[in-house]
């Protein structure tokens, strides 16, 4: 006799509305993140993906709706309180601290004394470059190295959920591969909510997707269904999807 294991959602975002100033940015976003897997937020530029992550974290608190983490409502809490519940954040545009050395960037992310000592081996195994660069100030790192550091920073304390915003943005294809591999390794330990414009990367990593369009969550489901639904891909993601070929061409153009 087989028993069905109930799907457990570590995070539930329930119909949130977020304003920035007077602008109504999110007009009803709902996301469910099942424990132990990767869920990806897809959508065009400016659709509201980053704002969704920030609303979960409390950096742009939602005015309406609920955010439920491990069964408890967390909307309205200050961001540092939310983070201390065990949520790590990797912001877009590699927002590392430029004035701090690599080591200081990592140390700053400690929530308890000794967090860094505990996680250092794991981090440097995942991103060997960082060990070599540990004394350099953040603004001396290349774009790819900064992105690695931004991810590494979220791994210093023990997190139950990672919010990762466009980790492949502007990276060379070979680095994208490395980043993908790293995120796959991470997902074995932690649940991940990912924002990713690179559809190939997203489709290979994530098990679930949520599409955000114009500040609303419009579709969700399993990644395998989306990959086969070219109609949906073109309706909502259209221009924002980049094939690997396009990415490579872009990089050649840059170089």
């Amino acid at each position: 006799m087989k028993e069905k294991i109930p799907r457990e959602d570590i995070l539930i975002v329930d119909n949130i509305h977020t304003f920035i100033g007077q602008f109504h940015i999110l007009e009803g976003v709902s996301v469910r993140v099942p424990k132990g897997s990767i869920t990806v937020l897809l959508g065009r530029n400016g659709a509201g993906k980053t704002t969704t992550l920030k609303s979960i974290l409390g950096l742009t608190p939602p005015q309406e709706g609920k955010v439920i983490f491990e069964g408890a409502e967390i909307q309205g809490k200050r961001a540092f309180n939310v983070a201390n519940l065990g949520i790590g954040y990797v912001p877009e545009h590699r927002a590392i601290f430029r004035a701090l050395s690599v080591l200081e960037n990592l140390k700053l992310a400690e929530r308890k004394k000794g967090d860094f000592e505990r996680s250092a081996d794991f981090i440097f195994e995942l991103f060997p470059d960082l060990k070599r660069l540990s004394k350099l100030p953040g603004n001396h790192l290349s774009g790819g190295q900064q992105q690695m550091l931004a991810v590494a920073r979220a791994l210093v304390p023990e997190n139950k959920l990672l919010l990762i915003d466009e980790p492949s943005e502007g990276l060379a294809p070979i680095l994208i591969q490395q980043m993908m591999e790293a995120i796959r390794v991470l997902s074995e330990k932690t649940t991940i909510l990912l924002v990713e414009q690179n559809f190939i990367m997203a489709s290979q990593l994530a098990q679930q997707f949520v599409i955000i369009d114009d500040g609303q969550s419009v579709r969700d489901g399993s990644m395998t269904d989306l990959v086969n639904d070219t109609g949906m891909i073109h309706q909502y993601l259209g221009a924002s999807i980049k094939t690997r070929k396009e990415l490579e061409m872009e990089h050649e153009a840059q170089a």
Binding site: L59, R78, F80, K107
Partner: protein, 497 residues
């Protein structure tokens, strides 16, 4: 490689230019005038730095231009002078301050329970309002008939009669305990009401865990004990202080000025600045207004007069010391430095400035707090997202910046006339220092302060020597600022942004 080489060349060029200027001044002025003027410049630079350091830290992290910094510098001088000359006022007021604070600090202990209280929405709004009104009524009742002016006048009297090493150690009669005790009691209750109201009873969206309640109660309990002690020893504590060795008394005065600055700074940030972060322009107006209020209060308490603080014994004996050791042994007023007679107290001011720079440097580069500040200057949101309470860091940095200003104030106390306007000139020069050094860079503030101080000192020297107008020295400040900003618009150590 290229930017590195460019940096190296610029550094070399700057070094050569600096050495050339120094050598030129040395050759032109001659050895003794050069040393004398340089030491004067360093003294002024030290004072400028004491004001600019806090301004720069506060602006760097919070984008707050604190126009009350000069007034707080002045207040530091007054507090230190009070303690040093006759601390009756400080000890007379202490029980009321600790009593009120003791009540307010109960907030983190009761908040976890209050926010879980089932309370109709209407009461959630009105109950705190009622509590605030009651708190103000009690506050007024507590201070009714309290003769603050008389307490304040004691130091004024002492200032006019005190001799070096002969402090006035007479009992200044204060209100008897039987009459006084109800004031701290009312103030504790008033503080508790504020704690109650600010805890937002019944508001479910507030967040306060029930953890570590005992630890959170510690400050309040300590202050309660302190209130009792301070109440009992209102009269004897000032005498005990006045009977102490003058140097020790001066050390305590420094400590009191710093502690006062830190606490007052925290209070200003929490109550006045925090609600205004979304409206930066209002902060400018508010700090400007605050500086007027502080100045008026000081004038009310101590009259618009200038006081000369008696120098501590270490800097007071007549005669010139031949060496540092001799000075430390005898406490001479002047010292011989390479043939130049220089006041020892000014040397102390220079040392104090350098010491402050070292302390700030250690905090900024070696401590976790410094790391948080450097990160927060760039991106406070991301610091918060790491799980760090940025609001609290803001409060701390503001308090720390104000403490640096009050430290500067008491440092300048035995050297400048103590009067309500003594901070104004430093406010202006502090801002200019920060602009020259680069907004938000404490190293820049240090270098900028020294350059400005030197400009002033050598300006005075040339004005005298070439019989130019004394305005030359004041003009030097503006000239330096213009030159620096033309070459480097973001300031010497400013980051491009």
């Amino acid at each position: 490689m290229k930017p590195k080489r460019k940096k190296l060349i610029t550094t070399l060029l700057v070094a050569v230019a600096v050495i050339a200027v120094i050598a030129g001044l040395y050759l032109y002025a001659g050895k003794e005038p050069f040393i004398r003027t340089t030491l004067s410049g360093l003294t002024l630079g030290s004072l400028f730095f004491m004001v600019a350091a806090g301004l720069s830290l506060i602006f760097g992290l919070m984008d707050v231009l604190n126009f009350a910094h000069g007034a707080l510098f002045m207040l530091g001088a007054y507090m230190g002078w009070q303690l040093y000359t006759n601390p009756t006022f400080i000890f007379g007021m202490l029980p009321t301050v600790t009593a009120f604070t003791c009540g307010v600090l109960v907030s983190p202990v009761i908040k976890p329970f209050l926010i879980r209280w089932e309370l109709p929405e209407q009461w959630q709004k009105t109950l705190p309002k009622i509590a605030y009104v009651l708190a103000i009524v009690l506050l007024i009742l507590a201070f009714l008939n309290f003769n603050i002016m008389e307490l304040a006048s004691t130091a004024m009297v002492a200032a006019t009669t005190t001799m070096v090493g002969n402090p006035l150690a007479e009992i200044t009669p204060q209100e008897p305990l039987a009459q006084f005790w109800y004031r701290p009691v009312l103030l504790i209750i008033s503080g508790l009401l504020v704690a109650f109201a600010s805890s937002k009873p019944g508001v479910k969206t507030e967040f306060a865990p029930k953890e570590d309640l005992l630890k959170k109660a510690v400050p309040s309990i300590l202050l309660f004990a302190l209130t009792i002690i301070a109440t009992l020893f209102r009269e004897s504590a000032p005498i005990a202080i006045l009977l102490m060795n003058g140097n020790l008394r001066f050390l305590i005065a420094i400590f009191v000025a710093v502690a006062f600055g830190f606490m007052f700074g925290a209070l200003i940030e929490i109550t006045l600045i925090r609600p205004l972060y979304v409206r930066p322009f209002f902060i400018v107006l508010m700090t400007l207004g605050l500086s007027f209020v502080i100045r008026e209060l000081v004038q009310l308490l101590w009259d618009p007069l200038a006081y000369q603080m008696v120098r501590p014994p270490l800097f007071a004996q007549s005669g010139k010391a031949a060496s540092l050791l001799e000075w430390l042994q005898n406490g001479n007023a002047t010292i011989n430095i390479s043939g130049v007679t220089f006041p020892t107290y000014r040397l102390f001011v220079i040392l104090l400035g350098f010491l402050m720079f070292v302390i700030v440097t250690i905090i900024m580069t070696k401590s976790r707090l410094g790391m948080i500040i450097r990160a927060g200057v760039q991106d406070p949101q991301m610091v918060e997202a790491l799980g760090i309470n940025v609001k609290r860091v803001f409060t701390f940095v503001f308090a720390f910046g104000v403490a640096l200003a009050t430290l500067g104030g008491i440092g300048a106390g035995p050297f400048l006339p103590i009067q309500p306007l003594m901070g104004d000139q430093f406010q202006m020069l502090g801002f200019i220092t920060v602009v020259i050094g680069g907004m938000g860079s404490y190293v820049g503030a240090f270098v900028g302060a020294i350059i400005l101080g030197m400009g002033r000192a050598f300006g005075d020297y040339f004005a005298l020597k070439l019989s130019l107008s004394p305005a030359v020295s004041e003009a030097s400040t503006v000239i330096i600022m213009v030159i620096v900003l033309l070459i480097k618009p973001q300031g010497l150590f400013g980051k491009k942004e």
